[in-house]
C-alpha cells in the first residue's frame, strides 16, 4: 500500500515535471514574443486602421536624421569601447603585471555606476565651469554634442567589453601562439595573425554588447547631448512629452533593426567555426605547462599602461565626484561637508531603495532558474521549432530596454493577462530580460558535459526528472551564479526598461536618481547613486557568500570529481558570454 502510494506520488511528480516542460515554451512565447509583436502592431496603428504613417513620420520628415544620429553615436562609441576593452584586457591578462584582481573589481565597479549621475559628474568635471577643464586646465569649453555622448558611452561600456574579452583571453589556449613563435614569427605577427583571430568571438560579442547598450541609452544623450537627439531619447520623449505611444513604438522597432543586424553580423563573422567550445575540456593538459609570457615590447606596455591609467583615472574621478556631490552642500558650487542630502532621502527614498533590492533579489534568485530550465528543455531538441525558441530566448539580449518596457505596457494592461501596476510585471520583465545570460551559460555546460552524462543516467534507469535534478542542476550551479550576479547588477541599475512600468508604490532607486536630477536636486541624486553603489556591492558580496560555504563547495566538488571533471573545468566552461 505504502509502496503504491509512493509510486503514485512519484508519478505525480513526474507529470508535474513534464508540465513544467510545457511552461517553458509557453512563457517564452507569452513574455518575449507576444510583447514583441504588440509593439510591432502598435507601430502599424493597431488598434485602428492599418497605417504606415508612423514610419513615414520618421523617414519623410526631418526626423530621418535621428537614424543617422543614432549610428553616428553608437558605431564610434562601441568601436571605441571594444578597442579600449581589448587594450585593457591585453594589459591585465598578458603583461604579467600584478593587480589583475584589483582591476577586475574596478571594472565591475564601473559597470555598477548608476545612470544619469555619471553624466552629471562628467559635466561637473569637464563642463564649462568644470573642475578639470576650467579650474585645472583653464579652458572655456562648451560640452554639448555627440562627441560628449561618444566619450561617456565609450568609457562606460569599455568595462563590459573588457570583462568579455579578458575572460576569453585568459581561457585561450596558448599552444597556437607558442607554435607560431617556435616557427619564427615575430611577436607582432603572432598577435595579428594568431591572437587577434582567436579573439574574434570576444571582440564581436563585446561590440554587439556595447552597441546595443549604446542604442538603448537615452539618458546620456539627454544630459550631455545638448539637443542632439537619437532614436532612444526620441522614443522616450515621444512617450513622456507628446503622449505618442504609436510613434514611440515605431522608433523602437527601428531601434531594434540595427541590433538584429549586428547580432546577425556576429553570427556571420563567427559562422560555424568553433573557437573554443571544445577547448576547455581538451586544453586542461596544455594549460598546466603554460609557457610564461614573453610580454610585450616595453613601449607597448608603457602605452597600454598609460591608457589603463587614463581609464582608471576617468572612472575614479567620476566616482569621486559622486561621493563629493553626495556629501557636500551644493553640487558643483559649495563644497562644505554636509549630510543634508542623505537626510532628505531618508523617508520615501528608502522605500524606493528597498524596492530596488527586493526586485533585484527576486530576479537574481529566480531568473537564472528560468534560463537553466530553458537550456535543459531545448537541449537535444532539434528542428525549426526548437531553433525558433532558442532565438526567442536570446532575443532579449538585443532588445533595447525602452522597447521592452513599452512592449510590456502594451501587452499586459488589459485582459487576458492583467499585470500592470504590480511588482510582478517588473520582476517578470527583468527575469526575461536577463534570460539570455543564464540560458547561454547553462547551454555551454550542457554542450560540453551533459549529453553523455544524461545518456548514461537515462541508461542506468533514472527518468528525466531524476536526471535533471541530480545531474543537470548541480552541474549548472556556476551558470546559476553567473546569471545571478548579472541579474542583480542590472536590476539595481536599470531604468530604461522599467521606467514605463513603475507606479507610486513600486518606485525604484534609479527612478529617484532620475527624478532628483530632474528637479535640480543634484546632491540628492548623487546621494541616491552612492547608496545604490554601496548596496549593489554589498548585495554582490552576500550573494557570492553562498558559493563560499565550505561544505556545499566540498560536496559539489566531490560530485564533480566522481565524473572526472574538475571544478575548474565546468566553471571555466560556463563563464558567460557576459552582458
Amino acid at each position: 500500500m505504502a509502496a503504491k502510494l509512493s509510486q503514485i506520488t512519484a508519478e505525480a511528480r513526474d507529470s508535474i515535471f513534464r508540465g513544467m516542460g510545457m511552461l517553458i515554451p509557453l512563457s517564452l512565447l507569452v513574455f518575449i514574443l507576444y510583447p514583441f509583436f504588440r509593439v510591432f502592431l502598435s507601430s502599424l496603428g493597431v488598434p485602428g486602421p492599418f497605417t504606415l504613417q508612423y514610419y513615414s513620420q520618421v523617414f519623410f520628415s526631418p526626423k530621418v536624421i535621428l537614424v543617422w544620429n543614432t549610428l553616428l553615436v553608437s558605431v564610434p562609441s562601441s568601436l571605441l569601447a571594444t578597442a579600449l576593452g581589448l587594450l585593457l584586457a591585453l594589459l591585465v591578462v598578458r603583461s604579467g603585471l600584478p593587480g589583475r584582481g584589483f582591476f577586475n573589481l574596478f571594472a565591475i565597479f564601473n559597470i555598477i555606476s548608476p545612470p544619469f549621475v555619471s553624466a552629471l559628474s562628467f559635466i561637473m568635471l569637464f563642463g564649462r565651469r568644470g573642475l578639470i577643464t576650467r579650474d585645472l586646465l583653464g579652458l572655456d569649453v562648451q560640452l554639448f554634442g555627440w562627441e560628449s555622448i561618444v566619450v561617456l558611452q565609450a568609457f562606460g561600456h569599455a568595462s563590459v567589453a573588457y570583462l568579455v574579452i579578458a575572460t576569453l583571453l585568459s581561457r585561450m589556449d596558448r599552444e597556437l601562439e607558442n607554435a607560431a613563435r617556435d616557427l619564427g614569427a615575430s611577436e607582432s605577427r603572432v598577435f595579428f595573425s594568431v591572437t587577434l583571430p582567436l579573439l574574434t568571438p570576444g571582440l564581436t560579442a563585446a561590440f554587439v554588447l556595447s552597441f546595443t547598450l549604446s542604442l538603448a541609452d537615452f539618458g546620456t544623450p539627454l544630459l550631455v547631448g545638448g539637443g542632439f537627439r537619437v532614436l532612444a531619447s526620441e522614443a522616450y520623449l515621444q512617450v513622456i512629452g507628446q503622449y505618442n505611444m504609436a510613434l514611440a513604438a515605431a522608433l523602437c522597432v527601428l531601434l531594434l533593426l540595427p541590433c538584429l543586424a549586428v547580432f546577425r553580423l556576429e553570427k556571420l563573422i563567427l559562422g560555424e567555426r568553433s573557437f573554443l567550445s571544445e577547448a576547455p575540456v581538451q586544453a586542461i593538459g596544455s594549460r598546466k605547462k603554460e609557457v610564461s609570457s614573453r610580454g610585450f615590447h616595453p613601449l607597448v606596455t608603457a602605452l597600454l599602461l598609460f591608457i589603463a591609467l587614463l581609464f582608471i583615472m576617468f572612472s575614479l574621478s567620476i566616482f569621486l565626484t559622486i561621493v563629493t556631490g553626495a556629501f557636500t552642500n551644493i553640487w558643483g558650487y559649495d563644497y562644505t561637508l554636509s549630510l543634508k542630502h542623505f537626510e532628505a532621502i531618508w523617508g520615501q527614498g528608502l522605500k524606493s531603495v528597498r524596492n530596488s533590492i527586493t526586485f533585484a533579489l527576486w530576479v537574481a534568485l529566480c531568473g537564472p532558474m528560468v534560463g537553466i530550465v530553458t537550456a535543459y528543455y531545448l537541449a537535444g531538441r532539434r528542428g525549426s521549432a526548437a531553433r525558433f525558441l532558442e532565438f526567442t530566448a536570446i532575443l532579449p539580449f538585443v532588445i533595447p530596454g525602452p522597447f521592452l518596457g513599452i512592449s510590456y505596457v502594451l501587452s499586459f494592461h488589459r485582459p487576458p493577462l492583467v499585470l500592470t501596476g504590480t511588482a510582478l510585471i517588473i520582476i517578470l520583465l527583468c527575469i526575461f530580460r536577463e534570460l539570455p545570460i543564464s540560458f547561454k551559460a547553462a547551454q555551454a555546460v550542457l554542450r560540453q558535459v551533459s549529453e553523455n552524462l544524461a545518456m548514461a543516467s537515462l541508461d542506468l534507469g533514472a527518468n528525466h526528472r531524476q536526471t535533471f535534478t541530480r545531474i543537470f542542476l548541480p552541474l549548472t550551479a556556476p551558470a546559476y551564479r553567473v546569471g545571478m550576479i548579472h541579474a542583480f547588477i542590472h536590476v539595481m541599475t536599470t531604468i530604461g526598461a522599467i521606467i514605463f512600468l513603475i507606479t507610486p508604490r513600486y518606485k525604484v532607486a534609479t527612478f529617484e536618481i532620475f527624478d532628483a536630477t530632474n528637479r535640480g536636486s543634484l546632491g540628492q541624486g548623487a546621494a541616491f547613486a552612492l547608496l545604490l553603489i554601496v548596496l549593489t556591492v554589498a548585495g554582490l558580496v552576500i550573494l557570492n557568500l553562498a558559493w563560499k560555504i565550505p561544505s556545499f563547495r566540498h560536496r559539489h566538488k566531490e560530485r564533480l570529481q566522481k565524473w572526472n571533471f574538475t571544478w575548474k573545468t565546468s566553471k571555466k566552461a560556463t563563464t558567460a558570454p557576459g552582458r
Binding site: Q242, N355, G421, P504, F511
Partner: protein
C-alpha cells in the same frame, strides 16, 4: 514555483536556493512601512493583479515640487496614507490613456493646464466641484469642475549672477534684454514640442506681440540660444552650475533655495504663466479619499503648505506665501488665451520645428 517541487531532494544546491529565497522574502517582508510592502511582491507565477482599493494608500501622479513634505502634511491632517510618483504631464496623460477603464492612479496633482484640458475632453477625469473651490478665482478653475488650479506657474529667467558679473553683463529684466548680442550662446530654453514651459513662453510672446512681430522676435532670440534642451530641468540646472548664463524655466526659486548664485527675473514686459491644477482620475476606486485630497489642497492650510514647499503664487487669494514668491499683483502677467493657444499648438510647434529648431 519550481523550487517547491525540489524541496524534498536533499540536494545542497536546492537547500541553499531555498534559504536564499527565504532571505529575499524576509527582506521584502520586514520592510518597516506597514501595509504596502507586506504584500508588495507576489510569488512569480501567481498571476494576480492588485489594484488600489478603499483603505489602501491614495495613488498620486504628480508634477510638483516638495512632494514629500506636502504629502506628509496631508497625511498628518487627514490620516489618509499616500503614495506618489513624479512624472511630467505628458507621461501622466500617456499613462491615463493606456490605463483608461482600469486606472492605476487616483489623483493627478500639478502639471500644465493644457494637458488637463485634453484629459477632460477625452473623458479621463472625474468632475468634482470641491466645496473649497468657491474661494478660488474663476479664471483658475474649470467651469465643469474637471480640474481646479492650485497654484500659478511663472515662466522666469534664471540668471547666474556670478557669470553675469564676470562678463559684465547687466541682469536682463525684459524679454527684449535677452536679444543683447553679448548673450550669444548664453540662453537655454527647452524644446517647445516637449516642454510646456517653452510652449507657453512662445505662445505668450506670439499673443503679446502678434504673429508677425512675435516670430521675428523668436528668430532674433534664437540667435542667442545654442540649442533647445530636451528636458525642462536642463536650463535651470545649467544656469545654476554656470554652464550658461540664463535658463528659461519656472523653477528658479528652487535653484535659489538650493543655494546656487542665481537671480530669478519675472520679465516686466510680460510674464508668461499657467495654472497648475489638481484633478481626480476617472474610474478611481478610491474616490472619497481622492476628493479629500482635492479639498485639502484648496484649503487655506493646504495652499500655505503648497506655497512654502513649492515656491509659487497661490490661486486662493489671501493664502500665506513665502517671501521669495512674488504676489500676483506685482507682476505683469500676459493676458493669455489658453483656448487659442491649445488650438494653435500644432501649428506653432510645426512652424518652430521648420524654421528655428536646430
Amino acid at each position: 514555483m519550481f523550487i517547491k517541487k525540489w524541496k524534498k531532494r536533499k540536494n545542497g544546491l536546492i537547500v541553499l536556493l531555498l534559504l536564499t529565497v527565504m532571505a529575499a522574502v524576509m527582506v521584502s517582508g520586514c520592510g518597516g512601512v506597514a501595509g504596502p510592502t507586506e504584500n508588495g511582491v507576489e510569488e512569480p507565477g501567481e498571476e494576480t493583479a492588485e489594484r488600489t482599493a478603499p483603505g489602501k494608500p491614495l495613488q498620486i501622479y504628480a508634477a510638483y515640487g516638495g512632494l514629500q513634505e506636502i504629502m506628509d502634511a496631508f497625511t498628518q491632517d487627514t490620516g489618509i496614507p499616500v503614495e506618489f510618483i513624479s512624472m511630467s504631464s505628458g507621461e501622466v496623460l500617456s499613462r491615463m490613456r493606456a490605463e483608461k477603464g482600469r486606472p492605476l492612479g487616483d489623483v493627478w496633482f500639478g502639471g500644465g493646464v493644457d494637458s488637463f484640458m485634453v484629459a477632460a475632453e477625452e473623458g479621463l477625469l472625474e468632475a468634482y466641484v470641491s466645496p473649497e473651490s468657491e474661494y478660488i478665482e474663476e479664471r483658475f478653475k474649470d467651469p465643469d469642475g474637471y480640474w481646479t488650479g492650485v497654484s500659478i506657474v511663472l515662466v522666469t529667467f534664471v540668471v547666474n549672477k556670478e557669470l553675469a558679473e564676470e562678463r559684465g553683463i547687466p541682469i536682463p529684466e525684459t524679454w527684449d534684454d535677452l536679444l543683447d548680442e553679448r548673450l550669444q550662446g548664453e540662453i537655454l530654453m527647452p524644446n517647445p514640442g516637449i516642454s510646456g514651459t517653452a510652449f507657453t513662453a512662445m505662445a505668450s510672446i506670439l499673443q503679446r506681440l502678434g504673429e508677425e512681430e512675435g516670430w521675428d522676435y523668436l528668430a532674433m532670440l534664437d540667435e542667442n540660444i545654442p540649442y533647445y534642451a530636451e528636458r525642462g530641468s536642463e536650463p535651470p540646472n545649467k544656469a545654476s552650475l554656470g554652464e550658461v548664463m540664463i535658463g528659461i524655466s519656472p523653477d528658479g526659486v528652487n535653484a535659489k533655495r538650493e543655494g546656487y548664485p542665481v537671480e530669478v527675473v519675472y520679465p516686466s514686459d510680460g510674464t508668461a504663466w499657467w495654472h497648475s491644477p489638481v484633478a481626480i482620475i476617472a474610474g478611481t476606486p478610491n474616490l472619497e479619499a481622492a476628493k479629500e485630497f482635492v479639498d485639502w489642497t484648496l484649503t487655506e492650510r493646504g495652499q500655505e503648505i503648497l506655497a512654502f514647499n513649492s515656491p509659487r503664487p497661490s490661486t486662493r487669494p489671501g493664502a500665506p506665501i513665502p517671501d521669495d514668491v512674488p504676489s500676483l499683483e506685482t507682476l505683469n502677467l500676459v493676458d493669455y488665451n489658453f483656448e487659442r493657444a491649445a488650438r494653435e499648438r500644432d501649428a506653432i510647434v510645426d512652424k518652430w520645428q521648420l524654421n528655428l529648431a536646430k
